[in-house]
Amino acid sequence: MIEVNEKYLKKLVVTRLNAVPPDVSFSIGKYGDFTRDQLIEQVEKGTDVGKAATEMELSFLRKLPKFAKMVE
């Protein structure tokens, strides 16, 4: 049985980031500027910006069912 742990969450986020166009970069506040591939590396390494990016992806996923209601 697959467990949801840090390893799985990284895998989920990396898979999602791989679906972002390769020519998109992210300016993430104090952490600076990252290309898509650099951000993926940060997530895999579990750095502070990687954790911030993970949290942003998961927040967005959890918000998906709420968007329709927001724009009602």
Partner: protein
Amino acid sequence: MVFMAEEKNIELLRSKFLKTLAKVSDSLRDEIVAVIDDEPFNWSTANVEVKGKTKKGEQILRLMDQVGLLGD
């Protein structure tokens, strides 16, 4: 008894999945929500497995529930 409880739990997760899916705009259903053995599933492909009551569908439900994607 344990088997029945687990089956009931899966049915509950299935109903939460369908309820949450109904709230996700069609254009956002391509968002990746689970990964099993490097195979990504978005809302739409996850729905195929969940509706088909496959083993993958059950895994997807448990993963999504643990990540907090199945709403209340």
